[in-house]
Symmetry: C2
Subunit: 310 residues, 2 copies
């Protein structure tokens, strides 16, 4: 990877997550190129607007592309594609990959690093879990609503200089970022929140506070968390997670969020596809393979899948 | 109970079920009085219309009441109240009860006979499960769409002369009816269909054929049936039900029903309350009390309850 000041970053999958993190990195002075679809015309002509409780900002002269073949090699490829578009991921990323290119997927759920590793070699691949609340506005605008921290790490495990360097550029850009030694454990821990809250809210239309206020749904939330943690621990991560204290911590984190609408609830309300394979299908299979049958998670997956207009 | 020709029948809870069975009994020549709310004016003035694949018919001079206190004693009280109105059941039935009055609840789920037994003595109480597809049309009209058979029995168990006599009047009226020795077993067997199909269809908006066509939801259907049968068998009914053959039989029965919309799905689509306590709450508690935890049924109950606009 090149020195920080010269670092060439390519953003593939410029939804709210890709636009927000790309904008923050670009604002910090890095060379950021965006592969755009919906927002190409708006950002090429009018620049990129970010609204944020931390202060709105506008970027002019944003480097926009329709086709990744025209973007040239990057030092770091930031991947924010929706996981149901993963069948296109390799072809979109391939033109950006040079000898020393690193790939960082900030996508949801499981199975993303594996696709990149199979195509480009495991050594290039990093992943991260993003705690970001953002959505797209009109073309050319992304609304940052809150949070934004990233926990990233090497697909192969361990804390590398490279992971620490990438964490450094995020922190320098105003995005709290931590390099973790056990990426897969971090991914499963995020699933411990996403699997119950995303699915239950998408299915019932209830915000997180209402799911927790109603004892029978609160019980489902905590029991599903327990299933996820049992499946996570069965994967043999570094140090098992204690289910009871994990659940307590997640509820303490969620209670103050009030009438929060998880992203999957918003996706369902707005008629978009849900990222069911990455968040449910693969974790369910990985649990089963280790002998952990996630009964409630499987039922939630079946009900969510049944509601997809496919 | 009086002789057949003189039998005085009072129908309490004249939704589609009460109107249909009451109309069939009245058409057969019995003295049937209806306690009406919504349909009082229409039936008093214009009579009661039944549409049916077996032939439409019209009844004039139907005996309509607003208040059960004006109805006089009945020999048989037929109860078709929605179970969420059970808090009104005893006061509605009380004026109809004389020394020899028998009570027959054809309501859904569990817990109905117990309320009647506590108020009027267990010896009066019979119950039945109705396999009826019917709904109300405009006031004064009930649409019989198909089926209609009843399995009835004594709350106290065993086949009594009384139960056989009541089965006889239904059969004479063109309603296939069987007196069964183990009413509670019959109720649980009906729950083996209702608990999966009613809830899953109400929650997902999918008809029975689509629930069965999609392997993950089909799996939920059969696993929920298995939970219900395990809980049923734990109640100590006469002869346990074999889960595998029960599931096979229920699927064979359901497949030919095509795009059937279970009553709870229609209730949810039309914004009505669901009979959750009788069909889910009480069976769940009775399972738990016998050490059978119905995990999927409990989750389904929680999700259905969360969707109630209460």
């Amino acid at each position: 990877m090149a020195e920080r000041m010269k670092m060439r970053i390519a953003v593939v999958g410029a939804g709210a997550l890709g636009l927000y993190y790309g904008a923050m990195l670009r604002r910090s002075g890095l060379d950021v190129k965006f592969l755009l679809r919906r927002d190409y015309r708006a950002i090429s002509s009018g620049g990129l607007n970010v609204t944020s409780p931390a202060g709105d900002f506008h970027l002019d002269g944003v480097s926009c592309f329709h086709d990744s073949a025209a973007m040239g090699e990057a030092d770091l490829v930031l991947i924010g594609l929706k996981t149901f578009d993963n069948n296109r991921m390799v072809e979109l990323v391939r033109p950006l990959v040079g000898e020393k290119t690193a790939l960082l997927t900030l996508q949801n759920g499981l199975g993303n690093e594996e696709i990149l590793a199979a195509a480009f070699g495991a050594g290039r691949v990093m992943g991260g879990v993003a705690f970001l609340c953002a959505n797209r506005g009109e073309p050319g605008t992304v609304h940052h609503l809150g949070q934004g921290a990233i926990r990233l790490g090497e697909f192969g495990g361990g804390v590398s200089d490279r992971a620490q360097a990438v964490a450094g550029i995020f922190n320098a850009a105003g995005v709290p970022c931590e390099a973790v030694a056990d990426l897969m454990k971090a991914r499963w821990e995020k699933l411990g929140w996403n699997i119950p809250f995303n699915g239950l809210s998408a299915l019932t239309g209830l915000t997180t506070d209402r799911l927790l206020a109603h004892p029978p749904t609160r019980r489902q939330v905590t029991e599903i968390m327990g299933e996820v943690i049992r499946a996570a621990n069965a994967q043999g991560h570094s140090g098992p997670v204690d289910p009871a204290s994990f659940i307590t911590r997640m509820l303490e984190l969620t209670e103050p969020m009030g009438d929060y609408r998880p992203s999957m609830m918003i996706d369902r309300l707005e008629g978009r596809r849900l990222e069911l394979e990455a968040i449910y299908g693969i974790p369910l299979r990985m649990g089963s393979e280790k002998g952990v049958e996630m009964t409630r998670t499987r039922m939630l997956h079946a009900l969510l899948e049944a509601g997809e207009k496919l």
